[in-house]
Amino acid sequence: MSNTPDDRKYAESHEWALLEDDGTIRVGITDHAQELLGDLVFVELPQIGQSVGKGEECSVVESVKAASDIYSPISGEIIAINESLEDEPEMINHAPYEDGWIFIVQPIDPNELDELLDDEGYQAFIDED
């Protein structure tokens, strides 16, 4: 049974978006996504300074099984990336909502977050599969 915390929003493409106190948005993939992917072995991180549109692919995670695109759940500029994933991609398996975060976006319009699913909505969405 995968875990879906209620402090953040979710995209149907299985990313989470967490609004930080400073107004930036931290992004990662869900517990459900990491379970489906299996052991992660490589993460291609976005570039700091790169601008991303909502729903735009900006990173790739590769598991023992396959490569999978990561889409930004919000428009803005990438202001930080989790470089420790370069050596420890398995952090996403171990702590998808904490140390396994992937990048941070400075959003253009934080209201875009409202278009994402809440925890119950996401849980219902994955339960349909």
Binding site: E35, G38, D39, V41, F42, V64, N93
Partner: protein, 363 residues
């Protein structure tokens, strides 16, 4: 309708993640594929491979039939229980399947062929058998469990029925022994020592549970794939198929050209291909840049010629990405791989990365 092995419920109760594997509902892992991989390299792991197809060939012309059907020569098998790896070719030398054949006696052989190719294999064998005094019998009511790893044999032998454990402890690599419906081959698809055990379906769940009790870890087909890739073993449907011949699939060693007077299906076509000079070569690749090699990625040679990755992935033993590729024969030591539009550097190595727990290439 998806097919299930007799161990299906057992896998589910162990928490396996199940996938559709060529029409079979099979476990891809029971948690961590990488842990399962290491378990086989360092101790003992087991795989349900009951989806594979067991075919018995019997009759006074069994030897003559198989000498014609297979590109390798079963006449090499003189010791009871000895096994041989071979390709089964079509008339154009395309590979219909790869298989293991065990010699039981001059009128009896056992073949283990792939699950995904079952229907066409049986049809082809039946068709070719029409000219021989032989029977081709599939044995669907048998289960198959592969127990692999340096500790596999010591774990398995005490659990085998009657005196089979004593015989199994004695058999040499690539040989088999049997007792009733139990059949034990010292073969595998991981590059480690171990057994592949064919047994009656109604004994499979109990045997699996006994193996768990002695510390053999269930492993999914995901780990089986990374283990065979490290061991340099081809996968049918990925590394070769009916459009490819053994010469361009790293399987030249499995063709028995001699004796001259033996004809086999595909021999004429294969000889002609060899005469013309082969264009493509089958190599191993070790990725030097970051990323993961995957099947169908393009290989780019320094002179601009191109080839293709046939199987690729992450090697848990090397902690690097490795692959097999079919490339122009002029390839030297280095090439680039097109990964989502970016070129990444790889070195060309022999397609055998890890055997018996030992790394076989220079990193």
């Amino acid at each position: 309708m998806i097919k299930k092995t007799i161990l299906n419920e057992t896998h589910r109760s162990l928490g396996a993640r199940m996938v559709d594997f060529g029409g079979w509902d099979m476990p891809v892992n029971y948690g961590s594929q990488i842990d399962e991989h290491h378990q086989v390299r360092h101790a003992a792991g087991m795989f349900d491979v009951s989806h594979m197809t067991v075919v018995d060939v019997s009759g006074v012309q069994a030897t003559a039939f198989l000498r014609y059907l297979l590109a390798n020569d079963v006449a090499k098998l003189t010791r009871q229980g000895k096994a041989l790896y071979s390709c089964m070719l079509n008339d154009d030398a395309g590979i219909i399947d790869d298989l293991i054949v065990y010699y039981l006696d001059d009128s009896n052989y056992r073949l283990v062929v792939n699950a995904s190719t079952r229907d066409k294999d049986l049809a082809w064998m039946e068709q070719q058998a029409a000219d021989f005094d032989v029977r081709v019998d599939e044995r669907p009511a048998l289960a198959m469990i592969a127990v692999q790893g340096p500790k596999a044999r010591q774990k398995v032998c005490p659990l085998l029925p009657d005196r089979l454990g004593l015989s199994a402890a004695e058999i040499k690599p690539f040989s088999a022994c049997w007792f009733g419906e139990w059949f034990v081959g010292r073969t595998g698809y991981t590059g480690e020592d171990g057994f592949e055990i064919i047994l009656p379906e109604d004994k499979a769940v109990g045997f699996w549970q006994q193996l768990i009790e002695v510390g053999v870890k269930p492993c999914g087909l995901g780990a089986r794939d990374t283990l065979r890739l490290e061991a340099g073993m081809n996968l049918y449907g990925q590394d070769m198929d009916e459009t490819k011949n053994p010469l361009e699939s790293g399987l030249t060693w499995t063709i028995a050209w001699l004796p001259d007077d033996r004809d086999f299906i595909g021999k004429k076509a294969l000889a002609a291909i060899q005469q013309q000079g082969q264009t493509d070569k089958f190599v191993g690749l070790l990725l030097q840049d970051k990323g993961i090699l995957r099947g169908h990625q393009q290989v780019v040679l320094p002179d601009g010629q191109t080839g293709e990755v046939t199987s690729g992935g992450y090697s848990p033993t090397l902690e690097r990405s490795i692959a097999f590729a079919r490339v122009p024969a002029s390839i030297a030591d280095n090439c680039d791989i097109d990964m989502r539009g970016k070129l990444k550097k790889a070195t060309v190595v022999k397609p055998c990365f890890v055997r018996q727990g030992q790394i076989q290439i220079t990193l």
